[in-house]
Assembly symmetry: C2
Homo-oligomer: 110 residues x 2
């Protein structure tokens, strides 16, 4: 085996898992951090910013894009990547919701 059994879970669970997985690598977290920092959508000095070879960075960008966390527009011979707010909003509200529930329950086991 080795393949995730996605079909047995709800769409929502799969959606969160996909987004979380995309952020499950420090390089990809670093890319998001960088895109937030340079508040214009500066393109890929990302390669210079990261301690990884260009093909590796390109691959990480692709994964972030597939997951919907970033979008990229061609702009001449470079590409302008930027954060896709929708995906991050989804994550934000997911965790905010969890925090609310945890606050309410306030059980003291474990």
């Amino acid at each position: 085996m080795g393949a995730t059994k996605t079909e047995h879970f709800t769409d929502k669970q799969n959606a969160i898992a996909t987004l979380a997985k995309a952020l499950g690598h420090p390089a990809r977290v670093a890319i998001i951090d960088y895109l937030l920092k340079v508040d214009a959508c500066i393109c890929s000095d990302i390669v210079n910013e990261l301690p990884l070879a260009q093909p590796t960075v390109s691959q990480h960008l692709k994964e972030l894009k597939n997951a919907g966390l970033i979008k990229g527009d061609i702009e001449g011979n470079t590409i302008c990547y930027c954060i896709d707010e929708k995906a991050l909003d989804k994550l934000q509200s997911y965790f905010a919701n969890i925090s609310t529930k945890l606050e309410k329950n306030k059980k003291d086991c474990c």
Copy 2:
């Protein structure tokens, strides 16, 4: 290769990546969902709840525990797993912070 180059990233980036990675599988999202739903720290009917074999569930629980997302206490011959608020708070504030920054920048590229 194939091993993540964690040493090149910041502690914070690695910390977020570790937590996100732990949620990067629908079964583990489902486990968190379940622990939230049963508002007592009910133990492992989790196995019955999930479409996976017991050793597989046990492995997923171990990963959530290693990442710090859940904690488990032995209680007789069963184990009481429950959500570790600290980790979820960390995620919640990470994404809340991102949302705030996105709100502020409101750039319209891409």
